[in-house]
């Protein structure tokens, strides 16, 4: 187990190192100098030079990379070029929208998908299975931002159950916050639920063919009991992987959904930063998202080892 843990930890660190280099390099080759962009076209040359040195842009690439990475490790994400406030502060505020949104969506997706997948597997080939599979076929094809627009049309504009966009803030209470995030979370969750339901179904179908399931039936359990007690648990490993991967889709997908609902999350921060050429914000937010994704994948791998002792030995 320790060996497995160390090996995974090494690959986690390596992934993060390479990821940070790639992101830094991409931002590095971006055309346009942030200092001259901030000061506008009429700026004097020495003013630009002074600002460049203040922002640390006159240093070498390697030293700037190390400063950036070192800063991130200690929670200092640098200072926004446009707002002149610490990036960490801006990210912190926005995270309180994006993270709850992704988690809300993940919860919804799991709550919808697992029962649907189990139901379909238990009724394989029958009408119920066909209906679920047809719905998932449609679910994976629907762009979530389009679905979001339809939700706004129906539930915000016509029925007026929810607001069409914006976020009231958590200080108005948990309920108000969740209420504001409900439509975005549903929009994010449904396409993911379609994928997850398919995975749940096929994982369970595979397990249903195993000898221990036959034994469970032979000792007198009904099909339903056998599925509940033995089937679902054994089918959970592939499902867990997908749930882990989905977290990254949800965080990234939230970027677009936040645009639809005008939510003040990381996504809007990134787009505002992009249009203002506030590259340090873009760089840090992207790195943060990549970090979150790599970390979640790492945690999923660890969970495997806990769920399935065979993997511990194999590693």
């Amino acid at each position: 187990m320790l060996h497995y843990l160390l090996k995974r930890l090494m690959s986690l660190i390596l992934s993060l190192a390479v990821a940070s280099m790639v992101i830094f390099a991409v931002i590095e080759v971006a055309p346009g100098d942030p200092a001259s962009f901030m000061l506008g076209t009429g700026a004097q040359e020495d003013t630009v030079a002074a600002l460049r040195s203040e922002l640390g842009l006159d240093q070498g690439k390697v030293s700037r990379y190390l400063t950036w990475v070192g800063g991130m490790l200690t929670g200092d994400f640098g200072t926004s070029y446009t707002y002149r406030t610490p990036v960490a502060e801006m990210v912190g505020e926005r995270l309180w929208v994006s993270l709850p949104l992704a988690l809300y969506a993940l919860t919804l997706s799991t709550l919808i998908a697992l029962p649907a997948g189990i139901y379909a597997a238990a009724r394989r080939g029958k009408a119920g299975d066909m209906a679920v599979m047809g719905a998932t076929q449609l679910g994976v094809a629907v762009p979530n931002f389009w679905f979001a627009m339809l939700l706004v049309l129906v539930f915000a504009i016509n029925l007026r159950w929810f607001s069409a966009g914006g976020f009231v803030g958590w200080d108005k209470g948990l309920w108000a916050g969740l209420h504001a995030l409900t439509l975005p979370a549903v929009a994010l969750a449904l396409p993911q639920a379609a994928i997850l339901a398919r995975v749940m179904r096929s994982a369970l179908l595979e397990v249903l063919g195993e000898d221990f399931m036959r034994s469970a039936r032979a000792k007198g359990l009904s099909q339903r009991q056998a599925i509940r007690r033995h089937g679902v648990r054994n089918a959970l490993i592939p499902v867990l992987t997908i749930i882990g991967l989905q977290f990254s889709f949800l965080l990234a997908g939230a970027i677009i959904i936040e645009q639809v609902f005008y939510l003040p999350g990381l996504g809007r921060l990134v787009f505002q930063a992009i249009s203002a050429r506030d590259l340090i914000v873009v760089e840090s937010v992207v790195m943060l998202l990549v970090f979150a994704v790599i970390l979640v994948n790492f945690l999923v791998d660890l969970t495997y080892a806990v769920v399935d002792p065979r993997l511990r030995r194999a590693a």
Binding site: I27, A30, V142, P143
Partner: protein, 271 residues
């Protein structure tokens, strides 16, 4: 012919035809504004209605199909063009440092949230259809590399490959002449899946303004423009959305159908 293959082929075929037809004919000029005719619901003259500038939506959807299909197809091309040789090389040198480097590199790209990186790339290098193709294409590379490697590994142990090796053919030549034709089926199936994912990705990038730029119509941008008008004229959002869904469903069904066709054993235990 199985049902998925038929329905998938039909839907994808119609979309492809619409895209190709748009080069020679559209009901109206997709770029011509005609304000007096604005925001019409579908009617006899404008079959799918008009937008807030009075442009014909059917014409825009047809020309938009061109953009969506081209971007997704070229992104698949990048994935196949770079990923397949990498996968073949990894399989041919199984267990070597080259195999290790290629596969670890693959894992690394997989670990990235693709949409975030696509946004980063298009943001830094400027929004355009070309950059969208590159951004989507990069994430197709590891997919095809993995499929190509996985499909090739078992082939390398087969007798006809051993015969070729005994005959003195190089690993590269065997990969090209014997392995590649035998994994073509797998690659075609994966190609349809990546094609459909590419359509969704392009739509997303265009929607946030990082894909094809005006005046080139694209389904994603039509949706972005429809957003503020959705309560006035829901058809502005519904039509391009349906175009995306029908294309993606069509390609997914086509992929399923082709998989069953190439490997009938899968029909039995298909999940």
């Amino acid at each position: 012919m199985n049902r998925s293959l038929f329905l998938g082929g039909l839907l994808s075929g119609i979309m492809l035809l619409l895209a190709i037809a748009s080069f020679v004919w559209t009901p109206f000029d997709h770029a011509v504004m005609n304000i007096p005719d604005k925001l019409q619901t579908p009617n006899a003259t404008h079959w799918l209605g008009t937008d807030h500038f009075g442009r014909d939506i059917l014409s825009m959807v047809m020309v938009g199909a061109r953009t969506s299909l081209a971007v997704a197809l070229l992104a698949v091309g990048i994935g196949v063009g770079l990923g397949v040789p990498l996968g073949l090389a990894a399989a041919a040198t199984r267990g070597s440092w080259l195999d290790e480097v290629i596969m670890r590199g693959n894992d690394l790209v997989f670990a990235f949230p693709s949409l975030v990186i696509a946004i980063l790339i298009t943001a830094v290098f400027g929004p355009s259809a070309t950059n969208a193709i590159i951004a989507i294409g990069i994430f197709n590379i590891p997919v095809f590399a993995r499929v190509a490697r996985g499909g090739s590994l078992s082939l390398w142990a087969r007798e006809f490959i051993l015969t070729a090796r005994v005959a003195g053919k190089s690993r590269a030549r065997i990969s090209a002449e014997h392995i590649l034709p035998n994994i073509a089926n797998l690659l075609i199936v994966q190609g349809t899946i990546q094609f459909s994912l590419g359509i969704l990705a392009e739509a997303g990038l265009s929607y946030v303004g990082l894909g094809a730029q005006p005046p080139t119509p694209s389904w994603g941008r039509m949706l972005a423009e429809a957003q503020t008008l959705v309560s006035l004229a829901p058809h502005l959002a519904i039509v391009p959305g349906l175009a995306i869904i029908l294309t993606v469903v069509g390609l997914n069904l086509l992929g399923d159908g082709l998989r069953d066709r190439f490997d009938p054993r899968l029909m039995e235990g298909r999940a």
